[in-house]
Structures are given as structure tokens and as C-alpha cells.
């Protein structure tokens, strides 16, 4: 595999993770707009960095649709809060198939198998490009999940940031308030029920016209079509961007080579260990076959 180009963070300082999956107790599961947020108490894992993910499987009822789900499912961590006896991990879920359905149906007290935090997190702006001082966060639909924790972590470092969020329609726009409380957010919605009527990438295009565009990096997460527009916009304008991507994953820790994403330089990366956050300049396209299963936000 050719080495990754673009701006890989200088020190690839990963958090070491306990090997093996561990059983956590589900502490909560509540509706958040068109999605659900469930939480579990992690007694032994390290604090995740924004953009990292966990492989999750319900302790019971995994396999209930004639043997599916069988593999664990990848989930970005949306927030991690200190709690009695460990960390409370929060996940945002949209039920699109047997695995997400089962996770969306978890009840407090149930067991959840957890491996992680895994993968390459979002970089700190200064590590990405010199002269950069601010950040633009762009999220589409359920792609909000990693941006919530990113917003907090960047905020704690005093990075000035603007957040752009897109939704399909009213039904799917809930949950923002909770995840982005006390934070200025610009909205777009395809049905026009809130904010700009259209795509969140329209808002980004406008921002990137501004004079201060070169001093910002873009962090984006959302459906492939949205990410591809972000990639193209940033590439045209020479703006550094990091995209949190998705593909089907079997293992999440580099074991299966199942999560291939084509590189701009040819060949593939393993999204679970070389990503899921990738530098937009490294990839050929964000429209990776097999990854576009959820038509949210854009």
C-alpha cells in the first residue's frame, strides 16, 4: 500500500485499548428526533478521542433475524462523560437493518459488548496545516455523532469553530439541541422546516467564499454524497479537510481487510485502522461502493 499523502498527524498518538471485547451495562436509551441515543457504562476503557469508534454487539438477541446480526457493528462515539465507576459512552443510532434495530431497542440494564475506542481520530487543527486557527464542522443527519464530541474537545482547546448541520426533514432534526447545547449551529434542511432550505454543503460553500476560509480546517461527517461534495469543495479551494467515513466493517481493528477505501495515490486503505477519519486529500472519492446505505442529511 502506498504511504498516505496529505497531512497525517505528526505523532500518530493512539490511545491504547484493552484487547478483547468487554461487557458494559446499558444505562439509558432515549429518542432524539428521528434517531435514538443509547449510553453504556465503560468501566475499563480509555477516554475516546473525537472521530474514534467502537464495535458494538448486544449481549442478547444478536443473531435474532435468522442468524443476523452476526458481526459487531461500528459506532462513532457521540460523547463520553465521566461517571461513577468509569466513563459513560453515548451513541447516536439510526435503525436501518437488523444490527442497528437491535441496538436501538436496547434497554437499560442489558449487556453491551464493546471493543474500542478504535481508529484514527480527528486531528487538532494545528497539526493539520500551519497557520490554521479555526475549524468548520459539517454534519449531515446521523453524521452528527462524532461532531458532538469533537465540538467539545476543540472547544476545550479554545479553537474557534463554526458548526453547520443538515437534516432531511423535521422528523429527523431532533437531537441537535441536546448534542450541541450551548453552541452556535447553522442549520440546513431539505424540506426547509428550519434554517436554509437545501443542503448543508450549500452553507459550507458560502463559508468557504469568506476571507477567513484559509485559516480554517473543515471536519465533516455524514452520508457519502455529502462528504464527496465537501471533499470536492475543499479540494477546489485548497482547504484542508478531514472526513469521518463509513464502510461495512467486520472487525474494526485491522484484522479482516474488509473496509477498503480507494486512495488517491492508488491502492486502498483500511478504513478501520487508517481511518475512519481520513484526510480528504488522501482519498480518491468519498463515494465508496457499499458505504452509501443511509440517505440522510446530505
Amino acid at each position: 500500500m502506498p504511504p498516505l499523502t496529505g497531512s497525517k498527524p505528526a505523532s500518530d498518538a493512539r490511545t491504547l485499548v484493552p484487547p478483547g471485547r468487554r461487557l458494559c451495562e446499558v444505562t439509558e436509551n432515549r429518542a432524539a428526533g428521528g434517531y435514538r441515543i443509547f449510553s453504556a457504562l465503560d468501566e475499563s476503557g480509555p477516554e475516546p478521542r473525537a472521530g474514534q469508534f467502537y464495535m458494538l454487539a448486544a449481549a442478547d438477541g444478536w443473531g435474532q433475524r435468522t442468524g443476523r446480526p452476526y458481526l459487531p457493528r461500528a459506532f462513532s462515539v457521540a460523547e463520553a462523560t465521566p461517571a461513577d465507576g468509569g466513563l459513560r459512552l453515548h451513541f447516536l443510532v439510526e435503525a436501518v437493518g437488523p444490527g442497528t434495530e437491535r441496538l436501538a431497542g436496547l434497554r437499560a440494564g442489558e449487556g453491551l459488548w464493546v471493543t474500542g475506542p478504535l481508529g484514527r481520530p480527528f486531528s487538532v487543527p494545528g497539526d493539520l496545516a500551519s497557520g490554521v486557527t479555526g475549524a468548520i464542522l459539517v454534519g449531515g443527519g446521523i453524521g452528527l455523532a462524532p461532531l458532538a464530541i469533537l465540538r467539545r474537545q476543540l472547544g476545550e482547546r479554545g479553537v474557534p469553530l463554526r458548526t453547520l448541520v443538515g437534516f432531511r426533514d423535521r422528523e429527523h432534526s431532533g437531537g441537535v439541541d441536546e448534542l450541541f447545547s450551548c453552541c452556535e449551529v447553522r442549520l440546513a434542511s431539505e424540506d426547509g422546516h428550519a434554517g436554509h432550505r437545501g443542503y448543508v454543503t450549500d452553507l459550507l460553500a458560502v463559508l468557504l467564499e469568506g476571507d477567513d476560509a484559509p485559516t480554517a480546517v473543515v471536519y465533516a461527517c455524514g452520508p457519502p454524497a455529502m462528504l464527496e461534495v465537501v471533499r470536492a469543495l475543499c479540494s477546489e479551494r485548497g482547504v484542508t479537510a478531514e472526513l469521518a467515513m463509513e464502510t461495512p466493517m467486520a472487525c474494526g481493528f485491522g484484522a479482516c481487510f474488509g473496509c477498503a477505501v480507494p486512495l488517491a495515490a492508488g491502492g486502498y486503505m483500511r478504513l478501520c485502522s487508517d481511518g475512519p477519519v481520513v484526510n480528504a486529500a488522501d482519498i480518491e472519492t468519498a463515494l465508496v461502493a457499499g458505504s452509501g446505505h443511509r440517505a440522510c442529511g446530505r
Partner: protein, 309 residues
């Protein structure tokens, strides 16, 4: 309990290893750190199959979940012989267990080149020949034809005294015939099963899902087929067998040992839990004990006794 086993001259601490291509110890160590080495789940590490030249692998999507299993069409991405020796081998040599390197080529000459270069390295304890590949000279899939298998072994056997394990494909009418050919050619052991040829369609569409069109099925779904192939091979050859295919628990591992395998490999189950192998080993220990056995050897003796009467 004494779980040590000896297979093909290799002395292993217990009978649980990994299936080739289902655990990248280098990537896993990057994620989990040296804690992984302390808790290393396998008694031998089998590398992903390497080929003479580097390969990028197949276009995505590469995996599809199926009832109690999965299809993969990874396409053997690897750094090629040179890249493997230079970059991967030193890191694999740091693992706390013996190393087996899986190799595949499409001609006798290239196979010989791989075996020679790999076997020459002290870090390598054994080699596995992945023969689910076409012979570019004959056009036949080596592992589907006993004569092809025999002739490949006759080429590579003289090259090294290190253990040669032949990894059989399950996509044949009679795996025992291929195993016999491998044994006749001087293989020290056979391992089986590799994945079953399979395909899937994109949900709600009439297009194939996998980027490469088709792939191989693994996981619990195939366990009953794997167990039958191990049984049939065990009944037919005297070289030891590494059994695999859908092993998820100690009870599954015991079934494979009871049907004639000397060692078992955990494959797809690693994806559900990076330490699945360690759990399988612990459960196997308990299962042996509750079957009144003091060691895996005991089981072998019980089987020998029951089949000789």
C-alpha cells in the same frame, strides 16, 4: 490441565491457532499495544497469505454478512514477498509464539521462490501453502486436483525441512483425495477448511453486492460442512490436521478435535472479539475436563481406541 500439543514437529502451548487472514497481529498490536502480546490468544500465529508481488486487493465492498456467517472477497492484499520480509517479518518475529507464513503463487517456480525465501528466515517456524489458486501453466485450480497438489508438493518439499502445511479448499467433491496427495507429496500437515464459494446480491437490488462479484463464506454457518470434511480427511490420511470453519466456542473446538483434528484455528470469530481465541482455549480446557479427559492427547487416544474396535 496440560494443553500442549505437538504437530508436524512444532511444539505448541495449546491447540488453538488463528486462520490465515483473520487476524493481523501487527494492526492489532497497533490498536491494543503490548497488552495483546501478554494475552496473545494463539499458540502459533499464521500470517495472511503473501504472494510473490504486492497486491492491492479487490474493489469494495469486500464483505457481506450472511445468516450466521459472512462472505469475504478481500483479494489477498499484501506487500509481496520483499515487502513482507522487510516490513512485516521483523514485527511478527516479536510475537510470543511460533510463526507460520502462508504463501500462494500461480506457478511452481513462483511457489518455489516464496518457499525458499521465507523458509530461509529463522523467524519462520512453518509454512502454509494456500492452494486455492490457479496454476497459470495448467489453468487448473491446484487445490481442486490431486495431481496438481502432488506435483506442487514435489516441487517445494525438497526446498526446506521446515514443516509444510497444506491449506485445503472445501470446494471439492472429495477433500480426502487432495489431502492424500498432499501427504504423498511430503506435506507435514493439512489445514481445512478454507472458505466456501459464495455470492450475494445487494439488498433490494438485482446487482451483486461484492465489488469482485463473489467471495468465500465463513463463520458458524459452515461449521457442519467443515466438521464433515475434517472427519473425512482424518479417516483417510495419517498426517495431522488443523481444523477450522466457524469455531466460536470450546465446545466447537472439542468437536473438531474429536473428529480428528490435532489443532484448531479460529477465523471469523476473531472479528467479533479480538480475544476470541483465548476464550475458545479456556472453554476447551473446561470442555475436555468435563468430558473426563486430562489432555488433548487423551482425546486422540480415546478416538483411536473407539475406532480400532
Amino acid at each position: 490441565m496440560d494443553l500442549r500439543v505437538e504437530i508436524a514437529g512444532l511444539h505448541l502451548d495449546h491447540p488453538v491457532i488463528n486462520g490465515s487472514g483473520t487476524f493481523d497481529a501487527i494492526a492489532a498490536r497497533r490498536a491494543f499495544g503490548d497488552a495483546l502480546l501478554a494475552a496473545f490468544p494463539f499458540s502459533m500465529f499464521v500470517s495472511k497469505t503473501i504472494t510473490p508481488e504486492a497486491r492491492a486487493g479487490n474493489p469494495p465492498p469486500r464483505i457481506f454478512e450472511t445468516p450466521a456467517g459472512m462472505i469475504n472477497s478481500i483479494g489477498l492484499p499484501n506487500k509481496g514477498l520483499e515487502g513482507f520480509l522487510a516490513q512485516d517479518l521483523p514485527q511478527l518475529a516479536e510475537l510470543p509464539v511460533p510463526l507460520c507464513v502462508s504463501v500462494m503463487a500461480t506457478s511452481h517456480g513462483e511457489f518455489a521462490r516464496l518457499v525458499e525465501a521465507v523458509a530461509a528466515r529463522d523467524e519462520v517456524a512453518a509454512l502454509e501453502l494456500n492452494i486455492s489458486c490457479p496454476n497459470v501453466e495448467s489453468g487448473l485450480i491446484v487445490g481442486e486436483q490431486a495431481p496438481e497438489t502432488l506435483s506442487l508438493l514435489q516441487t517445494v518439499r525438497p526446498i526446506t525441512a521446515k514443516p509444510l502445511i497444506v491449506k485445503l479448499t472445501p470446494n471439492v467433491a472429495d477433500p480426502a483425495a487432495i489431502a492424500r496427495a498432499a501427504g504423498e507429496g511430503g506435506a507435514d500437515a493439512v489445514s481445512l477448511v478454507n472458505t466456501l464459494k459464495a455470492t450475494a446480491f445487494a439488498p433490494g437490488s438485482t446487482e451483486p453486492w461484492l465489488g469482485a462479484g463473489r467471495g468465500g463464506l465463513s463463520g458458524p454457518a459452515i461449521r457442519p460442512v467443515a466438521l464433515e470434511q475434517v472427519r473425512s480427511v482424518a479417516a483417510s490420511v495419517s498426517i495431522p490436521i488443523i481444523g477450522m470453519g466457524g469455531i466460536e466456542s470450546g465446545a466447537d473446538a472439542l468437536d473438531f478435535l474429536a473428529t480428528g483434528a490435532a489443532v484448531v484455528a479460529v477465523g471469523t470469530a476473531n472479528f467479533r472479539d479480538p480475544l476470541a481465541g483465548a476464550r475458545v482455549r479456556a472453554e476447551l480446557e473446561a470442555a475436555l475436563a468435563s468430558a473426563g479427559l486430562a489432555s488433548p492427547q487423551d482425546l486422540g487416544e480415546r478416538i483411536a481406541a473407539s475406532t480400532s474396535t
